[in-house]
């Protein structure tokens, strides 16, 4: 960003428009949540995907306009992006373990198990 005497002052109507867009997205995410998209489109995680996608749209709007990234230097873009890339690394690589596990975890019994009340026959 070239140094100017004053900050980039964004007109108020942009903020109002962004707020309205965010609220519309909120309504949209509510509406989609109550339709069983998975059953309708025979998919596994469509409901979740749509919810996450809408959340990402909302986050983008906030980051670009409320947080002024649209008007900021490339370094700021890089740092804003890097955090999410790293989060993606953590999420993806951890999931590589869990979704490929041959065995699901089962439940553990408490380590402090008393012997059953009626002992099952003589040992």
């Amino acid at each position: 960003m070239a140094p100017t005497d004053h900050d980039h002052v964004v007109p108020v109507w942009i903020y109002v428009a962004v707020l309205i867009a965010l609220l519309v997205l909120l309504v949209l995410t509510l509406v989609t949540a109550f339709f069983d998209l998975d059953a309708r489109f025979h998919s596994a995680h469509l409901n979740m995907g749509v919810a996450v996608f809408i959340a990402m749209c909302k986050a983008f709007l906030i980051i670009l306009f409320f947080m002024h990234v649209k008007y900021s230097s490339r370094v700021v873009w890089a740092f804003a992006g890097a955090a999410f890339v790293w989060l993606g690394i953590l999420m993806t690589l951890t999931l590589t373990d869990y979704i490929t596990r041959p065995q699901a975890p089962t439940v553990a019994v408490s380590p402090y198990v008393p012997a059953p009340a009626e002992a099952p026959g003589p040992r």
Partner: protein, 252 residues
């Protein structure tokens, strides 16, 4: 030593290590973004754990989601988006150098942010009455109606009415699955850490209001307001992801 500050104008302070206020401003902004990157991964650890457990115990976590009051969450989302909007206006007021406007919008932000916290506390109270708080009173058996108290029962009645009208039927279990406790644990930790961030934010805003009252900010120097704005918006973004993750994944 560091005390020799170069005074450019009464309201613009450039600390000795910087060449000029542009360098200072850019450094402050980049520093804040770096800190926010840290925060992303701080919450990220929770989101990853939550995702893994949701993957492991889909049904228990869905039952947990069904015990959430989604409409309170939705109202809260709108409230928080509104507070973010006011915060953006406060930063804009700072950019044009108007201290009274900064105060006005920061006060509005605090009011709306406090409303969010109030609703959150209400939810915690309902969860408590419904015996959903791990380590305190979580029970797999749902409490009887007469144990709920009138306030909580009202919400329950609405839930029942609403859930009976959605299709397909959501299939709320009569007895909570054991691992729902894990969901509730993450619910409380995630929303709790988020609320802690908001409380810290409100405290900082009070300081900023005081500074604005002293007319410390100007069009040339308002880094604290701007950086704090980034923080507040970030807290908002966290909620934007928390809301669908905790409240909305209801379908079987």
């Amino acid at each position: 030593m560091a005390e020799d500050l170069v005074i450019e104008s009464p309201h613009s302070l450039v600390e000795h290590q910087f060449e000029d206020r542009f360098q200072q401003k850019e450094a402050a902004t980049l520093g804040m973004w770096t800190f926010l990157a840290t925060e992303v991964l701080f919450f990220g650890g929770l989101f990853v754990s939550y995702t893994i457990y949701r993957h492991q115990y889909p049904e228990a976590f869905r039952q947990g989601t069904l015990d959430m009051k989604w409409y309170l969450g939705a109202i809260n989302t709108a409230v928080l988006l509104l507070s973010s909007f006011f915060m953006a206006l406060a930063v804009r007021a700072a950019a044009v150098g108007s201290n009274p406007k900064i105060i006005r919008y920061l006060v509005l932000t605090i009011v709306v942010g406090s409303l969010f916290l109030c609703i959150k506390v209400t939810e915690y109270y309902i969860d408590y009455r419904e015996r959903l708080v791990p380590a305190l009173n979580f029970s797999e058996a749902r409490p009887r109606e007469d144990e709920l108290g009138g306030f909580t029962r009202t919400f329950d009645k609405f839930d029942e009415w609403f859930d009976s009208h959605v299709s397909p039927p959501i299939g709320k279990a009569a007895v909570r699955p054991r691992n729902e406790q894990l969901f509730m644990l993450f619910y409380f930790i995630m929303t709790g850490v988020h609320a802690t961030h908001m409380i810290i934010g409100i405290a900082v805003m009070l300081v900023l209001i005081w500074m604005a009252h002293r007319r410390r900010f100007s069009a040339e120097w308002h880094n604290p307001v701007e950086c704090f704005g980034l923080y507040w918006h970030f807290v908002d973004i966290v909620w934007v992801f928390l809301f669908p993750a905790l409240y909305l994944l209801r379908n079987p």
